[in-house]
Symmetry: C2
Subunit: 330 residues, 2 copies
Amino acid sequence: MLFAIKNHPEIAEALAADLAEVETCFSAELLSDLACVNDLVRYVERYRGKMLRPTLLLLSAMASRPGQPVRDEHRTLATVVEMVHMATLVHDDILDEAEIRRKGKTVNTLAGNEAAVMLGDYLVSHAYHLCSSLDNQAAARLIAQTTNTVCEGELLQLANRNNWSLDEQTYYQIIGRKTAALVDAACRLGPMMHERDQSDCRSMGGFGYKIGMAFQIIDDVLDLTGDEQVVGKSLGKDLEKGKLTLPLIHRLETAAPADRHRILDLLRTDDTQRTEHVGWLITNTESIDYARRRAENLVAEAHDHLAVLPESPARQTLHGIADAVISRQR
Amino acid sequence: MLFAIKNHPEIAEALAADLAEVETCFSAELLSDLACVNDLVRYVERYRGKMLRPTLLLLSAMASRPGQPVRDEHRTLATVVEMVHMATLVHDDILDEAEIRRKGKTVNTLAGNEAAVMLGDYLVSHAYHLCSSLDNQAAARLIAQTTNTVCEGELLQLANRNNWSLDEQTYYQIIGRKTAALVDAACRLGPMMHERDQSDCRSMGGFGYKIGMAFQIIDDVLDLTGDEQVVGKSLGKDLEKGKLTLPLIHRLETAAPADRHRILDLLRTDDTQRTEHVGWLITNTESIDYARRRAENLVAEAHDHLAVLPESPARQTLHGIADAVISRQR
């Protein structure tokens, strides 16, 4: 991601300044008079990673009115989307029983599931609290609609746990809601807070939605084939938690009956090596290529959505980030 | 509670009509295009119990402008506070590993902790979503501030788990934030949406805060001395989860050294009968009377806060509910 931004020093500089303000706003909003709360919040500060969503929101703002300064509303909402994202990570790690996140221990591992449930609630509550400080109901409503959708995605995923005949369409439903919806909102809020007309906001939302989908597909590929040291979080979790993802859905759909049964038998066992065996059955198969190709097609479509924006370094940077989503190894 | 309302048929009738609208709004807001989501939501519909918070919000509205109709904003916000309350119940039951709630199985027992985490998130997200449909940032901000505080209360309680030397002041800090804050907000929103001046809103908030405190103290007394069949939820959970509550805090502070050590030894054991033994050590002690007396004093102070309201049947009903908080057996 960073690579894409470094190509445009002037953008990188402006963005760094805005993201620094986002970090300050993030910490200020979460500060409590209770030491025990601040101690817990410190855990998630470590989660702070790519800052992809605030970056996309700020770049969408720059790109939708080149030359015009990014507004305070943009920085506030960039903080809001990051806070919502952090909350979903904290609750996700409980659902996944994940132990490593961004190369550090997860909150549920460090402080227990109960603290993780409440910390996630604390984060999302402050996200809405920060949102309510803006005098903009449209933004608040979009954020709340988005979190509604994210929860639906998580619940749909849970309902399909251990469903080894999950089809591709339902898989897209899941990742569209749980991941792409928030990226969609981030990219939409940039032009929205610059009073760009609705169709431009929709188009930028479409850009975000498609790179969000591609991002999740690559995430799922990395969960099967990635190196934990490089990716920096627990891998193989999807299979462990009965989550079927695109490469395996494709493998099962296209495999010869014998292989199909072999894989299904393997999936149905509680063998601790299951993930390793399946990962090994799938690496270097055309199913991995298929998933990567789907991600590439989504990114190609995403590029087209940027046509509504005037040519600018910020827009170039958005193109670069879209490409980085599929080339990333982590 | 209901008893207090039945004394005023005209209020009971108006309230029943408003609460019916709240129920409709509640279900409409939570309706999803995903069957798996609607199935889960059906679980919490069963949680719907006293509707204390929406009732207090609506009565505060009626009492702050007698004769004037309750506004749509009031009914919407009554739905919001109930939805927030439901979300806290769902996440609370995960923290407490509770199996029974309102005489039915809890979501975590029925659908697992993961589904309960996400369902709670879904409820709170929709609460803010509903809130953002109002063109009133002050209300949205109050709701978000309140949920911030509720989470802090839960986190403070978690931080003091198994702290057998918890003092009375910290106990009040915990219940003030986790329980009283939302009742405070409910009672404040009535006059607030009727444009009563700030000091009146504060005073009504104070009424809510104090009956909220009293309500939680009685809840904690019932957890030690109540009958599960009557109360309709898992009891003895506080001790099981290492929560020290007012009666026991007082007992430990006032007990003779020998008794004190006997109780502490009992608390520190993992004996499954622990709760029973302690409950039995505390029933009919002056520590139960002390806790009930504290609740009575809080309710007495609450009554005074209603002085800002004109005399009316709605105000009388609020007085009646305040008294019912301490007389309740469930």
